[in-house]
Amino acid sequence: MSYIHFPVIAVMGQFLAAFLVAIFGSKSRKASQAITLIASACAFVLVCLLIKPVALDGQIISYWMGNWEPVSGYAIGIGYEMDALGLFFAVLVSFIILMSAIYSLRYLEHDEAVDRYYTLFLMLSGSLLGLVMTGDLFNMFIMIEIMTFSAVGLTAFRNYIPEALEAAMKYLVIGSVGSSMTLAGVALLYAQTHTLNMAQVAAKIGAMQASGGLTPTVVFAFGLMFVGFGIKSFMFPFHTPVADAHPVAPTSFSMVFSTMVIKAGVYGLIRIAYIVFQVMDKSSVQILITAFGCVTMFLGVTMALAQHDFKRLLAFHSISQIGYIITALGLGTALGLTGSLFHVMNHTLFKALLFMCAGAVLHMTGSKNLDELGGLSKKMPHTTICFLIAAFSIAGIPPFNGFASKWMIYQATYEKAVESGNFFYALVTVVAVVVSVLTLASFIKVTMSVFFGQLPEKYKDAKEAPASMLIPMWITAILCLGTGVLYQLVDRTLTAPAVAASLTPANYVDKMMGSGYAASFSVKDAVATAVQHMSYWNPVLWLTLLVIVMLGVFIVILSGDNERGPVLKTKEPVADGKYATFFSGEKYRHSHMGGSDLFWGFKHDMKPYFDFIEEKHSGVLTDYTLWTIVAMAVIVVYTFVFVK
């Protein structure tokens, strides 16, 4: 069958598998696991088969449900349209779902009612795939709702932990407010354009922009939808549910939540800003999005430095990286969007890896308190290496993938600053670099307090994570390194077509409604400026240099005589002898540095700031909703005043 049917099969397959798990899974854990694995693998294969036609050849697959084609220029059916941007996200979604399914095989072994987990998990996966493939506004809203429900259900899955219920409640309330605002935006758009198909709406708005400017209804709709998708992507004042939900959710869900559920909001933002509303060339919108992204970056990383809980710290880092992504996509340039999409992919990879390592530690030791853990690198060597790879990726150390995407983002912001003459963007560059250093600091702290240092007594018997948890970790780690070194290949295959697709709404409209439609409505075809970016940085060259020099050093070291005593290590007890830890004459005792005692100088100097933000994150639901509503009001007023 031709590949046109693949998107729909992928989505429907997941929902069907969810039903099958609900029917057959309650008796046998193995049945539910098998169905989940098969369904995720099928979705991944189907999506990967689509890479060639959609991304490399530039086709856009349009599929009308039930064959309700448009009649006399009016879309009357629900349309699924898959362009390179949607494919980019779909590849990431299906990959992470597959990794999470493999990871959860052993991770959930102590939990009961696992079939309900897998049902919700498959519903989540189906809704995520449907979200990125749909071409209809209301269908997008429905998929977001299914995603929210599944995510809330999975957060509260371990309902013997009271905090899980609390986190799920907060997520539900704030997420519902967001969905309601999205629905209000969709209703307003329908009232104005009388159609729900995104391509047709894009055409009508394009005509509106060409002939005089946006009507107040459309501006209001943009503001509301921006707020709605902002809540879903957990930007600055809306970020609180993420921080609460991550520590208590099972890790195999945390990794999907932190990577793809948040990215669904980002995808929505890109879709509405670039394709549907086509407002990204207005500098007021650019400043709005970039400003929110900038504050999100900084706030996320500083809150992360103050945490005691491993997974809560990772959650705040997620927020900070989403800040990077939103900043880069708010710039409105081709390079910015490329950097943003590349960072989406890299963040997916290294954040999933980080959560998998955290889950492995939690599973084997039962603790995620940074002050208690320590010295686990001896007991869990594989986890340590994977964690180090992920930590170097997120900190942006060459040659891992975080470096490539962060560099693109710095270059994009600086270019925008130079090109527009606006000093604000230069400050954004500086903030981005400082946040990068603070991210490095935070991960040094975590590595120190969890993997290095001294091993406490009660974790003496910790073992390495089981193989089914290690396999997805290693696959993701190798991909982290691979996409960093071979980023040009990735760029050519996945990112550049996605950027091209989002900058040319005319193609999108044409494929859906018939060619020539866009021209008749004079939809602007955004000029994709030549992305002359990282041709300067050839990672292969740098790696070669590094390897050559290292070889030289090793030759010198190994050519020395060995009789001066090679490096020794024995099994003597650590309290005594020359292999003991050096305490300058004091008695040996376990004096492990708790994670929160590090970086004292930094915390001391920034004490007013830290006290302020820790007090503001009070944990009370009504405080968080107050921020949400205030931010919503600010954004709506801003769009009314400035976006014409």
Binding site: L165, V173, S176, H194
Partner: protein, 122 residues
């Protein structure tokens, strides 16, 4: 005809906005979790009223058999009605899930006051 439509719709729209704002206020200002859930529902009802009102243009209801169809027939837009039905269902799902969570929270925390349910903070 247009003037009556206009006045009918204005009442609808004002009521919808009022309900939404009332719902938002409830979610922010009330600390009892059940009241917060009620606030969420009120926001949903306001939006539903809004959606249905966008379809009104003075015609008849869009229910007829195929043999009654003739060209030039004047009926209200059926799409918003479909959207509203879906949205009502979603609102019901949100309420059900939220209330289930509240029951479970009450069993563990022994309170439904939002200011006391704050073990995750900082």
């Amino acid at each position: 005809m247009d003037a009556t439509i206009h006045s009918v719709l204005s009442v609808n729209y004002v009521a919808a906005i009022f309900l939404i704002v009332l719902g938002l206020y409830t979610v922010v200002a009330k600390t009892n979790l059940i009241k917060i859930i009620l606030g969420l529902s009120i926001i949903d009802y306001g939006i539903n009223l809004f959606i249905v009102s966008t379809g009104f243009n003075g015609g008849t209801s869009p229910q007829f058999t195929l043999s009654e169809l003739f060209s030039g027939q004047y009926f209200v837009d059926p799409v918003p009605q479909a959207l509203t039905l879906t949205s009502i269902v979603i609102g019901a799902c949100v309420d059900a899930m939220a209330l289930a969570l509240v029951i479970a929270i009450y069993k563990r925390y022994k309170t439904v006051d939002a200011t006391e349910i704050r073990r995750l903070h900082g």
